[in-house]
């Protein structure tokens, strides 16, 4: 069969994930966006907040440009955390239930009666977690950024702070968006061992996948401590957490945090676990 058909199948499978998990993929970021918009509109119409915003803009227009840029990136970064941090709750839950539900709900025979390979099914789930969910959150975030930019522009122009700051703001905005997209994708790849593990559990657990996912990890850590009196496994787990807490990173920090051998090992381990998930999905008994 030709490439076109494979792509059509994969696209359809990802659409299916979107239909089924619309709340996690779409409505969670939309709700955050609505809450943030309401908070912003409420705040900016209150005098203390308005004054603080004008004050902040005044400071930024008075300090040196590189410093102001760092500050602006910091603000964009903080706002983006509101949208991106919940992903690292919704994505693991999604991964843990996606294959499990395919088997355990009454619909399993429907999914299994169609000519879709296990590899393609698992790939669609992985792409949903790695690409679709972050991109959906970022798309809503961008809409919110637009509102933020609009309000900032009005404030800058109305308080006569000058075009220099406005130009800096727009530059920082594009810089921030590129950073955020890169961070979101790289974080997904960095977390690939966890994602692979959750998919594997989702493919094999006969009941309560959550306890399998967490229980086996805890049991391994305890077993290592008891048997070898060492704690390499838990140390390693710690080291694979989200590798930065603050999104106001620079490109050099980003490269340092992600493009290293740890990333490579994680990708290899993650891939092995994903292949395991594809293999386990064969069995529906």
């Amino acid at each position: 069969m030709n490439m076109e058909f494979h792509i059509k199948q994969l696209r359809t499978l990802i659409f299916r994930e979107f239909w089924e998990h619309k709340i996690a993929i779409f409505w969670v970021p939309v709700s955050i966006g609505i809450l943030c918009t309401l908070a912003l509109l409420w705040g900016i119409t209150r005098e203390p907040v308005y004054d603080a915003a004008i004050n902040q803009l005044n400071i930024m227009s008075s300090i040196a440009q590189p410093e102001a840029r760092v500050q602006l990136l910091g603000i964009f970064g903080m706002v983006s955390m509101l949208f991106l941090a919940p992903l690292y709750l919704t994505i693991p839950i999604y991964l843990l239930v996606c294959l499990y539900d395919d088997r355990k709900t009454g619909a399993s025979l429907f999914w299994y009666s169609l000519p879709v390979s296990n590899a393609k099914t698992v790939a669609s789930k992985l792409l949903t977690a790695l690409v679709l969910m972050p991109l959906s959150a970022i798309a809503i975030l961008l809409l919110f950024f637009m509102l933020l930019l609009l309000i900032s522009t009005v404030l800058i122009l109305s308080s006569g702070l000058g075009a220099g700051l406005l130009w800096l703001l727009i530059q920082s905005f594009f810089n921030a968006v590129l950073l955020i997209v890169s961070v979101a994708i790289l974080t997904g790849l960095w977390l690939l061992p966890f994602y692979g593990w959750l998919l594997l559990v989702s493919a094999f657990a006969r009941a309560v996948p959550f306890f399998w996912a967490v229980g086996v990890v805890i049991a391994l850590a305890i077993a290592e401590r008891v048997v070898f009196s060492s704690s390499y496994f838990s140390t390693w787990l710690d080291s694979r957490g989200i590798p930065y807490q603050n999104l106001s990173v620079s490109w050099t920090e980003l490269v340092g945090a992600f493009l290293n051998y740890d990333m490579l090992y994680g990708l290899v381990l993650g891939s092995v676990l994903i292949v395991g998930a594809i293999y386990m999905r064969r069995y529906t008994d």
Partner: protein
């Protein structure tokens, strides 16, 4: 013509329970085969094995493939409807069409739309909002729009009221079936499908206890209605089953030599449901040709 399904020594156990025990059968292209047995006889397990949905031992070939390998390629040639309600509850009707259209290379969207247009089903409804009968109508419309060689139906009308049941089989025969296609239907409600079948497979305790073409049935099985004074005479010819009818008895014989029975009186061919009851009660006691 080579068989579209051939099973040799098909076995499957769940723990100590033998769901399939050395089952042998083959199905030719163009057949409408009824896989008939009581609940728990192994029907569903046999169908799951055909579809590559469970592990098993023995040799099995379906549409030229081993179902244990490349199940997704097999599914291009095989369609499957299990008992009602296997469509995902959150799916919308329009999404169901889009989905099958997107993943199945042999799906004919226009045909599915045409079949659905004749029902009351709304495109915007979610599956969970549809009645059981409507879900089956939808599933049948989707499956009938797929051009496959083999259609497997597992108790497809279970829990449906009589109107939907009749419509289901009418549509299946009227608009889906042709000599190129093979249909395997499992059910324990024999009377519903006996007129459509071309081949019978009776299954009991995981074994195939009867495998016969419908047109061979009149040659092999015969029944005679007799009144009380001739019961002993009839038993001399080894009936496999006898049942009471208004003070008389119907004796059912499994023999290729019907001429012998002429002395008892007028013989006729038993209905599939009578044969089913006879075989199910009889098979425990004698060996059966398979």
């Amino acid at each position: 013509m080579s068989a579209i399904i051939s099973a040799q020594g098909l076995s499957k156990s769940y723990g100590n329970h033998k769901a399939l025990s050395n089952a042998n059968f083959s199905i030719q292209p163009g057949a409408i085969t009824g896989l008939i047995g009581p609940n728990g006889a192994g029907k569903t397990t046999a169908l799951r094995a055909l579809l590559g949905l469970c592990e098993f031992t023995g040799d099995l070939e379906v549409a030229g493939r081993d179902p244990r390998q490349d199940r997704h390629l097999l599914m291009e040639d095989v369609c499957f409807i299990a008992d009602v309600g296997i469509l995902p509850k959150w799916l919308r009707v329009s999404q169901a069409i889009d989905f099958v259209d997107g993943v199945h290379p042999r799906f004919n969207r226009e045909k599915a739309e045409r079949l659905l247009a004749r029902t009351e089903i709304k495109r915007t409804s979610k599956i969970k909002e549809l009645s059981k009968g409507m879900v089956t109508q939808l599933h049948l419309a989707l499956v009938m729009a797929i051009d496959v060689r083999l259609l497997v139906l597992d108790e497809p009308t279970l829990g449906l009221d009589i109107m939907y049941r009749k419509e289901f089989y009418d549509r299946l025969l009227g608009e889906y079936y042709d000599a190129e296609k093979t249909v395997v239907i499992s059910t324990h409600q024999v009377e519903e499908i006996e007129n459509l079948l071309t081949q019978l497979l009776f299954i009991q305790h995981g074994r195939i206890i009867l495998d016969i073409a419908m047109d061979e049935l009149p040659e092999r099985f015969h029944e005679v209605i007799l009144s009380a004074e001739r019961f002993e005479e009839a038993r001399y010819y080894n009936p496999i089953y006898e049942r009471d009818v208004l003070g008389r008895k119907v004796f059912l014989f499994d023999t290729l030599d019907a001429g012998r029975l002429q002395v008892l009186g007028e013989t006729r061919t038993p209905s599939v449901s009578d044969l089913f009851v006879a075989m199910m009660t009889h098979a425990g006691t004698t060996g059966v040709r398979s």
